[in-house]
Symmetry: C2
Subunit: 721 residues, 2 copies
């Protein structure tokens, strides 16, 4: 019974007599609230009294509008528009083509490359000025957003000397959005793409979506689900997609589509989709030509083939390279790319699910066309709270490999749990593959450094929906933000990203930023603790992936069942992936393989991923494995409760509306953390036969209660399957 | 190709340099923008300098918060809170229990009844004051909203003497929202009810929804689809529903649920749902008791039984009264009601669909329990652009009958077409049934006047979804608003309602209000013209009901096919419902029956509803029927184009954001009006064999083109069936 919750929230609402307009989260991190620090406010205003910004292209117009809007709201300032610098405090923005001043900064321009920019304090005509310069319109737009961020986060703009350029070429959001506006694994309402009203109606939200992406450097979006419908390739839908592309283009974002492999049959009237069949090849070539006639800068295709029921080249006894290359050939004349997903889940049940992608793709290395990128999930199973890095990183030496993260929290509490994902993104990037000896991190494997790849990419499965606050949880916006920032610069720290996001999104008050940043940074480890500590994985509820269900053992395929993954028995728990087990460790380079093959050298956080371990095994802490496992589950709940305590102290430091929303969701998170903990501890106890150590609160219900719970109409289950 | 549309909108956005925050429509008609007229602004501020308003109940707190918030935003005023009147310009609000002053106005209080209120300029202690008084907290809340409306619409508040009370007891929104958040016939995104996060998370939108409803007097909401899932009656979902009820209660809104008739089998473990079975009766009694334990003021059930595949009493060879009475008995101890829908569509194909509801329900008159209301759609087919009033109005003399309107535009262009529905609502209310002689209007049949019924009701199928602007089209908000206003007072005119809505929602500028009001008032007739003129009906696309498809003749049941309804042939067009045909006219009282039995006395707007008419028949205009039909179709398109012209003149009079949104949607409406016109004229021409008269633009495509169009993923088709 949660009647009190509704009551309390309502009374909080009713007794709150401040009449300011409620913050609803729609503005994301682009709120541009007036600068509160008086000294900064005055200094800023002196620095941007005039604006020299010749803009005629859509992208420069967008940059200028953003800048003027930001200055108006942040500084209550409408800078004078000037054509030359006659006074100090002039902001000059543009490219060498639009500004003679900017053309002079050849060193900075060279460093900025095609997408970067520089922001510099300079003297022009003896007057102190600020220059935002770039080689391209898009670079100027990125520079403007960064300049506004300096003001939003309270940085000094006195002696600026910033040069920024992205480390990764393709920085993409993948929307698992279906054409009926359901979103597979979406927890923030329906798809923001209103296909029915396109192309005639441009929802204002499309522009705000593009602004938000541009502000963090995202330069591509796949707008439809990888579990694809061929309908999105029909003329009617291409015309709709072209209208979206028009909006995106202004903000430097290319549009991509999923290609349903069987489209030639489903909408093309062919009898086969065999990639080596000439009529099929021609169909895709014609289709590519048609797409580019509507969308001249179309980005390309993403394909999920021969996985979870999707059709693919193996349907015709061809391999992934055959399929990818056919599409690549069709796109090549237009400079389009194919992102071919390595997440394969075919009809054969492998001895170890974790091995399949590597087994299928490693032998194909070198066989892909130059405009194919293989898209590899961060781990080998499926976006779990924690996974060791995918063995394909560093292993495909002749093929560009991009990483795929999941921003939407399919396995991390949906949009109900506060889980800041940057530490997880970062953990993978920092993992050392040893592909070319020590220091061959995943980051270097995907930013092209390792093998001098030109095509580099990072994709994130979006957590965006029609909820007014975009992501369902005010803090889930941080994951969208962090993904974009890390795709731009994988060297950034989760702390630095959280810091700037909090200042822009909520408040620059350090007494708010610092404690909240602290719990953000630990929130992912907290979630691992109460869901899947010590290397456990894939023990959630079937289908919707909601809540714990480690007991499930009756699904059609062994590798669909949680028991397949944890393998708990009276002796112990964990999946033996060593050379004595599935030998998945052999997919890693020797240094890592040997480390993981030995439980003594395996990092504790991955222990049960690679080893079946006795309940009695003594852990470094001195506890037995059983005690350690229980400790983690209880610690996870404690951490959520500590987060709640910290949050309660934030009341009054931010707006009541968002404070209350987060407070309510944290209460649900606490309930669900307890549920995870109790269900898992009680279930694993049925194997360990050991007691829950003294001092821990007793589970409220017995195991049967948790096993018998039923849930209906869970979110995120709409989709092609 | 609509690339230019996106381009123009984007450029409009980019070149618009005003930096005001864009209007997104979220605030509906409760924007409370600052009063622009300086004289009014000053007068208003003098009139409400002090506030005497003792509030401790949730509803009075809500009223006070609304009032303070409104005065702050409208007048930049925070009135001094006082306990007695010591100066002029005091606003006194409350009930006799909270204010001795108010207790003195016994005449006004008596007139206000339990839900009404009075607003009166009075002298208190010799000081000019304004009193908002009511017998109940809810009445005060309604009074506060009306007072704020006076300020929003620029009325004088100098000599107030208002007494208002609702004419209809049950003023309900019916949400056809499924538990998976799809909305059957919903065109504004997914359901606003986030069931998964209930009861712990109270979306701020729930409160704004309740505020909006309270502001127009809506006092009930059925939150789930009439095509029901029994899951909504499980404990988990009742707890969720109770959390919504808590929010609604504060704003005077009762919550209702649909009752899936087969729930005793589906979730109760019984073998039957036979309403005469004692175990079934007990199950429903226990279920009702359980519901009221969570929701003490639960409103009751709505039931769609034995219609379009839904289970019902006829499944067990019982009749509608048997089914309704069983549920009524279960609810009776708690003062709950049953709304039993007369929209029946059973397995047998009737000779005339239009006759079925009357045929089944009229014989049951007098057999229903006192807490059953039969809910009857405004017309006998299904929410068509125009239908003659339903013959059950006035016919059920011993049974309360409530009217069901469809606010969502299933058959009226979804949320893409601007169609102001108040004229349609009103047309039905003003229709004379002759049940007790001339003047026995539908309004009198449903407001209880005709047969002195105590239980009176008006239900509207909601057009609300998760779109930021709630209804998908800024102007669709007007239909929600108008429904509520007419349920409060069926005597209001569509013009008066449009006037106040426009002033609150957009602008009080008469040069905006007057022309826009004019096209709103004609917009429904415009839509009838381009869709189904002269009494045509049910000729839309199958399933999704999108666009024209008068040619469809291959559906399983005759009465699913458009050809069944228009019966066009070489001789003429129209459904003969006279005594020589289906004799549906006999369901009306003699005066109407005789009028409709004769084509010469049948109103032209209903002609083809009741008569099969020769293409050559000469119409009052002097045109042949064919020419008249063509004339209407072309006039409909012309009217849309005129509306576009008028709208284009409004640029600058309101915010650019909403101006542009409406402009885009009008362009789509124009395209779809042309599509309707061309498809219908060409199709009917294939029977009439007559030319399109000279002077009309030629259809762009041939009939085959229109017949071959295919559409996918149309909105509003999610649902139980």
């Amino acid at each position: 019974m949660n009647k009190p919750a509704a009551c309390i929230i309502l009374l909080l609402f009713l007794f709150n007599t401040t009449n300011t307009k409620a913050e609803d989260g729609y503005r994301l991190w682009l709120r541009y609230n007036k600068v509160q620090n008086v000294s900064l406010y005055n200094t800023y205003r002196q620095s941007v009294k005039q604006l020299q910004f010749n803009a005629s292209s859509p992208t420069l117009l967008a940059a200028k509008k953003e800048l003027n809007n930001g200055l108006q709201l942040l500084l209550n300032l409408q800078p004078a528009q000037v054509n030359s610098v006659a006074a100090s405090g002039t902001l000059i923005a543009g490219t060498p083509q639009t500004s003679k001043t900017i053309a002079q900064y050849s060193t900075e321009l060279k460093a900025a490359g095609t997408e970067g920019y520089f922001i510099k304090t300079v003297n022009v005509n003896g007057k102190s000025s600020i220059v935002i310069g770039a080689n391209t319109d898009k670079g100027v737009l990125y520079g403007v957003f960064n300049f506004l961020k300096l003001l939003q986060t309270g940085q000094s703009i006195q002696l600026l000397a910033i040069t920024e350029k992205p480390e990764i070429k393709y920085r993409l959001l993948n929307h698992w959005d279906n054409l009926d506006r359901t979103v597979e694994r979406g927890y923030a309402g329906s798809s923001i793409w209103k296909w029915h009203k396109l192309p005639g109606y441009i929802d204002p939200r499309y522009i705000d979506y593009a602004r938000a992406n541009a502000s963090i450097g995202i330069n591509g979006a796949v707008v439809n689900n990888v579990n694809a419908s061929a309908i999105s390739l029909t003329k009617d839908y291409l015309v709709k997609t072209a209208a979206l592309a028009q909006v995106f283009r202004t903000y430097g974002i290319k549009i991509y589509l999923t290609a349903r492999f069987s489209a030639p049959v489903e909408i093309g009237g062919l009898k086969t989709a065999d990639p080596l069949d000439a009529s099929v090849q021609k169909w895709w070539k014609d289709k590519a030509d048609e797409i580019y006639s509507y969308i001249p800068d179309f980005g390309g295709f993403i394909v999920k083939a021969n996985s979870e029921g999707q059709p693919g080249p193996q349907t015709y006894n061809r391999n992934h390279a055959d399929g990818a290359n056919m599409l690549a050939d069709a796109l090549k004349p237009h400079n389009g790319i194919v992102m071919w997903r390595a997440f394969v889940y075919d009809d054969k049940v492998p001895d170890d699910r974790a091995k399949q992608a590597y087994s299928e793709f490693k032998p194909l290395d070198g066989q892909f066309r130059s405009n194919v990128i293989v898209q590899v999930k961060n781990g080998a199973i499926d976006f779990q709270p924690r996974e060791p890095f995918h063995p394909l990183f560093g292993a495909m030496r002749k093929t560009p490999v991009m990483i795929e993260y999941q921003i939407t929290q399919e396995y991390l509490g949906f949009s109900t749990h506060l889980v800041y994902l940057a530490p997880m993104f970062k953990e993978v990037l920092e993992s050392d593959t040893y592909a070319k000896g020590k220091g061959s991190t995943v980051a270097k494997a995907i930013d092209g450094e390792l093998d001098n790849q030109a095509f580099t990419g990072m994709a994130g499965v979006a957590n965006i929906g029609s909820d007014v606050n975009w992501c369902g949880h005010q803090f889930a916006q941080a994951n969208w933000y962090a993904f974009g920032r890390l795709a731009w610069n994988p060297e950034l720290t989760p702390a630095a990203i959280a810091d700037e996001w909090l200042r822009m999104t909520f408040s620059t008050d350090n007494s708010f930023v610092n404690p909240v940043k602290q719990f953000m940074l630990s929130s992912r480890e907290t979630t691992v603790d109460y869901m899947t500590p010590l290397g456990l994985h894939h023990i959630m509820g079937t289908g919707a992936h909601y809540g714990p269900a480690p007991w499930v053992n009756n699904l059609n395929r062994p590798d669909w069942n949680p028991v397949y993954y944890h393998k708990a028995d009276s002796a112990g728990i964990g999946f033996d992936r060593t050379s004595k087990g599935s030998n998945a460790v052999a997919q890693y380079f020797p240094e890592i393989r040997d480390q993981l093959n030995n439980p003594a050298t395996t990092p504790e956080k991955y222990l049960l991923w690679f080893h079946h371990v006795s309940w009695n095994k003594q852990m470094p802490s001195g506890k037995t494995l059983w005690q350690e496992l229980v400790h983690h589950y209880y610690r996870g709940v404690d951490s959520v409760r500590n987060m709640q305590k910290t949050w309660s102290l934030m009341q009054g430091k931010i707006d009541d509306a968002r404070f209350n929303e987060v407070k309510q969701l944290m209460a649900i998170q606490e309930q669900e953390a307890v549920w995870w903990r109790n269900a898992c501890v009680l279930y694993f106890q049925s194997f360990s036969k050991m007691p829950i150590p003294a001092g821990y609160e007793k589970p409220e219900h017995d195991l049967a209660y948790y096993r018998n719970q039923k849930f209906y109409f869970l979110p995120g289950t709409g989709g092609a399957q």
